[in-house]
């Protein structure tokens, strides 16, 4: 029996300027899965992610993670958030960045170095540990940002466009890493506006204009819409809603 990690019930967010960022989203998401938030930019993916990590005020509806309301203090230790910009301290070395976040997750000093080394290996940045982040390439910075999201072995990782701008080899590596994490029970939320990435997810949420267009496994969605790819499926659904 799969465990539900996230329950979203009629969730709406109206931003202060009156914009309806999310409009009545209801969905249950399972633990240990890679869940893709797919949709064009401006669809509400980031807002939904910010709701999950407790950074966004919810206008109506409810959102619970591991049985607790989103934003509950006990959840903060169990989740990590990688924002769309590379949110790293560029004026620190790679290692200093990781050590700081390790301290924030309460990892004791003596375990700090080992934890950091393990994470650096996972994102293949061992040889860059002592370099200043500002000296790294865009893709490397992105991996530092992802590395920070791995600190503290969170049960839920919310990753906003984690593979954008990465080369194919690296993207492949990261997906392998995501697979390992999911197999170990981590729930991963990954947003993307690249449809080919969608095929790799276990579960998909197609989002547009703040509404949930469809939810299901990629194969299921393709079958339901009689299409060959998630991209076609998305276009067909958009057509039906337009």
């Amino acid at each position: 029996m799969p465990h539900t990690a996230i329950q979203i019930n009629d969730l709406s967010v109206v931003l202060p300027d009156g914009f309806h960022a999310l409009d009545g989203i209801s969905v249950d998401l399972e633990q240990g899965k890679i869940i893709g938030f797919i949709g064009p930019s401006g669809a509400g993916k980031t807002t939904l992610m910010r709701c999950l990590v407790g950074r966004q005020r919810i206008t109506s509806g409810s959102l619970s993670i591991f049985g607790m309301p989103a934003g509950a203090p006990a959840l903060r230790k169990m989740l990590s958030y990688m924002t769309q910009q590379t949110s790293v301290y560029t004026d620190l070395t790679v290692q200093e960045n990781l050590r700081y976040f390790a301290a924030m997750f309460g990892i004791p000093r003596r375990d700090n170095a080992a934890a950091v080394a393990k994470i650096l290996e996972a994102v293949d940045l061992q040889d860059k540990a002592d370099l200043m982040v500002e000296r790294l390439s865009g893709g490397q910075k992105q991996r530092v940002s992802l590395a920070i999201a791995l600190v503290g072995s969170p049960k839920l990782m919310v990753l906003d466009e984690p593979t954008v701008g990465l080369d194919p080899v690296l993207r492949e590596q990261l997906w392998t890493l995501f697979r390992h994490l999911a197999a170990a029970g981590t729930t991963l939320i990954v947003s993307s506006h690249v449809m080919e990435e969608a095929e790799r997810c276990d579960d998909l949420l197609l989002v547009r204009d703040g509404k949930l267009l469809a939810h299901g496994e990629p194969a299921e969605l393709r079958a339901r819409t009689h299409t060959k790819s998630v991209e076609e499926c998305f276009l067909k659904l958009v057509g039906a809603h337009a």
Partner: protein, 244 residues
């Protein structure tokens, strides 16, 4: 709140500065150069310089810590690192005090250097001694940091953060009693200056300059500065929202 997280934040902020040699140079060397220039500006009137130099020691740390804190925290807001921290297990107070301690320590180094130059090299004498001078300068640095943290919420770019120096700090510099003694100002200006924290920083420096013993006015000034700083920190922590 957790001490290890607060101090880890302090360490991280100081680490960032350690890598930034130019900023460190600007913060530590420039005040020394400025106070030296001031000495030769008043070459024929060393008595005047003797009275002004300690006041400058109250103004420098406030100005510099204000600028540097407002810009660094603004950067945390705009680059997403604050998003990350606020989604994670850190309390706002860890964040705020981490910053306040880091820049107060830097203020301590700055004040020690500038007092060293002023008292040693430029021959200024203060009745109250170097230690009290440094204590007063560090409280000013703490105040500058707190104001910077608070004000960074009202700027949306680094450009604006710098511009806020004009409406927020310039009036304080004008009214603090450096240019004109406060009792010579128009009554209404003097009343306004009663509510500006820099007034008390400058007065604290005057107390240290002119009195050999620790006066009750000095205690009073320092407490008021700390009060302002703490209010700014609390208001600042309100502007850092977990949920936006």
């Amino acid at each position: 709140m957790s001490f290890s997280k607060t101090f880890a934040t302090t360490g991280r902020v100081l680490n960032q500065l350690r890598h930034d040699h130019r900023t460190l140079g600007l913060m530590l060397v420039v005040p020394c150069v400025l106070v030296t220039i001031l000495r030769y500006l008043f070459d024929g009137e060393l008595k005047v310089f003797n009275a002004i130099a300690p006041m400058m020691l109250g103004i420098f740390p406030l100005l510099m810590m204000f600028l540097i804190t407002s810009i660094t925290t603004l950067r945390e807001r705009t680059t997403g690192t604050l998003d990350r921290l606020m989604a994670g297990p850190i309390s706002k107070l860890d964040f705020m005090f981490g910053y306040a301690i880091a820049f107060s320590l830097l203020g301590l180094v700055q004040a020690s250097l500038v007092s060293g130059v002023t008292l040693g090299f430029l021959g200024v004498t203060v009745e109250g001694g170097a230690f009290r001078l440094i204590v007063a300068a560090v409280t000013a640095a703490f105040l500058g940091t707190s104001l910077g943290l608070f004000v960074s919420a009202f700027a949306t770019s680094e450009f604006q953060a710098v511009e806020l120096v004009m409406p927020i700090l310039m009036p304080q510099v004008l009214l603090c009693g450096l240019f004109v003694a406060r009792d010579h100002m128009a009554d209404w200006l003097e009343k306004i200056s009663d509510f500006l924290p820099l007034t008390y920083s400058v007065d604290a420096m005057k107390q240290v300059s002119n009195h050999a013993d620790w006066t009750s006015d000095l205690t009073h000034d320092l407490l008021i500065i700390l009060g302002f700083a703490i209010v700014a920190l609390v208001l600042g922590s309100v502007t850092i929202r977990r949920r936006e």
